[in-house]
């Protein structure tokens, strides 16, 4: 298991280095260079030269990359937002906890809903319940998440006044939950797609487990149907869900971007969208980098949990 973990950590570090390189490269690809992005369309050549000199942009590209990485590692320097006149790090630090809360809560809710749904579909397989849940998951998968968000606001906030229209305002871990009702609709929106995919996966994973030899053995030994379902099939089907969460994190982060924008919830996604509208490339790139690092770390965590949960890895060799 130690070998597995070490390999997995190294792999994650390589991926993060690759992402850093890509984000760095994207910054260089701005037509006209970073000076153009910072100084605007009416820049003078002298101002551009001065900007490049001050920011080390006249150095060779490998040198710039080295300085970029060094800045990141030594004091988390993510660049400077000229549009906001503030460091990207400062912009992000207020918003990151809000996004992490939204993503965390939604993923937990999605699991709590999706796993029983998937089990229900297996217990009642090929019945009306099964087919209608499959249809529903198709529908949620096909529905743009922002459309779902609008409909929820329209019916539950404007018409029924069940939930406030305004998003949670607090930005620290404790103040964010002062009005939990404000959280309900964003969480529903973000978890809807995840529920659709998780429950479909849960269903196929359990159906697959039911065809395995150990299930036949259990049945042959006279285990009851419930014991086969919950004791054997479910336990084996639950472990891969951990991997699925890890694999789904980038998609959930994308979903969070949309959800935050719909509900005006000031997290990383809304920051990115606003920055994109304002042509604020450094903020977009910085937010992309940070959110990706967190997704990679989240996937790593999911894999570590997988290794702990699955005795074949926990007790097995270092493969």
């Amino acid at each position: 298991m130690i070998g597995f973990l070490i390999r997995r950590v190294i792999q994650s570090i390589i991926v993060i280095l690759g992402v850093v390189f890509i984000v760095f490269l994207l910054g260089k690809l701005i037509p006209g260079g970073e000076a153009a992005a910072a100084l605007g369309p009416r820049r003078s050549p002298a101002a551009v030269a001065h900007f490049n000199l001050v920011n080390g942009l006249d150095l060779p590209i490998y040198d710039q990359f080295w300085r970029y990485i060094w800045g990141l590692v030594s004091n988390l320097n993510l660049g400077y937002s000229f549009k906001n006149n503030e460091g990207v790090k400062e912009l992000i630090s207020q918003r990151l906890p809000k996004t992490l809360t939204l993503v965390g809560v939604s993923t937990v809710v999605a699991l709590i809903v999706a796993i029983p749904l998937g089990i229900l579909q297996v217990v009642r397989r090929y019945s009306v319940v099964d087919y209608s849940l499959t249809t529903a998951s198709f529908l949620f998968y096909a529905m743009p998440p922002f459309f779902l968000g609008f409909l929820l606001i329209l019916y539950f906030s404007f018409d029924a006044h069940l939930f406030p229209v305004s998003p949670p305002i607090g930005s620290t871990g404790t103040t964010i939950f002062t009005d939990p009702r404000a959280f309900v609709l964003p969480v529903i929106t973000l978890s809807a797609i995840t529920i659709a995919s998780f429950s479909r996966y849960m269903r196929s994973s359990m159906m697959d487990a039911l065809t395995q030899d150990y299930v036949r053995t259990a049945r042959a030994k006279g285990a009851s149907n419930n014991r086969v379902l919950y004791g054997h099939a479910l336990r084996n089907a639950l472990i891969p869900i951990l991997t699925l969460i890890g694999l789904s994190l980038p998609a959930i982060a994308s979903g969070a971007l949309i959800t935050e924008t719909v509900f005006n919830y000031s997290g990383m996604g809304l920051l990115t969208v606003t920055a994109a509208i304002n042509d604020d490339v450094p903020t977009v790139l910085g937010a992309t980098l940070v959110i990706t690092i967190f997704t990679v770390a989240g996937s790593l965590l999911a894999d570590v949990l997988y290794a702990i949960a699955d005795p074949r890895i926990r007790l097995g060799g270092s493969t």
């Binding site: 994308s254 924008t261 969208v273 994109a276 959110i291």
Partner: protein, 324 residues
Amino acid sequence: MTTHDEITPATGPDGPLDETLILPTGQVVTVPEGGESSSAGGMGRQILQVFVENRLAVIGLFVIVFFILFCFVGPAFYHTNQTNAEAALNATQNGRPSGSHLLGTDNTGFDLVGRLMFGGQASLIVGFASAAVATVIGVIYGAVAGYVGGWVDALMMRIVDVLLSVPVLFLLIALVTIYHASELLIILVIAFVSWLVPARLVRGETLSLRVREYVQAVRVMGGSNTRIVGRHIVPNAIGTIVVFATFQVADSILLLAALGFIGQGIPAPGTDWGTMLSDGVQSAALGYWWEIYPAGLCIVLVVIAFNFIGDALRDALEVRLQRR
């Protein structure tokens, strides 16, 4: 991304077409290995039969044909102004559905049925074109990586890992912020974030196909690498490729809708279904329901239709032998 996970050849047999299968009835069926091309009419007919038997797929196909006709042929019969913003502003804004405007008008005075056709053209073109570009890039990349193998393969696949770990909408937004949006650019940018999955799939197929006897036979006979990859490996992975491409059209349409929502969709005076939907939001809050539901319904129907077809193709091309 859910639908794609299911076509990852991780758990199933790697070679899609040439396996010895034991049917549930106990029969053993040996399928001949694929040669240069599968021109056998029987197989094609069998695939078609499985596809047609799947009612959902046939419905999906009808939905898509309907929308293609509606968006591209419709404007020839239903004449509306969709380009002159000034003339539109002089017309009724937020008009209720009526005899002259079947679905009413939007907040800038454009007729909404015409707008759906006009925006649908962009959504469908972007969907098809970006899926095609992504598939071509992914197939070439994956086939080269899998065929060459060694450190080239390792390096090429690490690049895919890195790009796949970036949440797709963030990457998409970064790209459209750097290069300002036009229809062609949106196609390329969506393709750029979508070629990774087919690259992985095709690379996996290639790894298993390149050690087959018929590939070795071609090599012994002096066939070039290009010929082996182009005429023998890629055609034998065509099932996976076609299934991916079908799902990708749906995903591309959703990605374009997301871009439209954050205001980076097809730039004005053009439009797309996602942009229409998000433009209609303020109006919908005021009770002008016709400004969001038709556009939303178009997206949902087309995306579901492509998913139905993709599912049916997956059954028809990959696991059809288990049924017979």
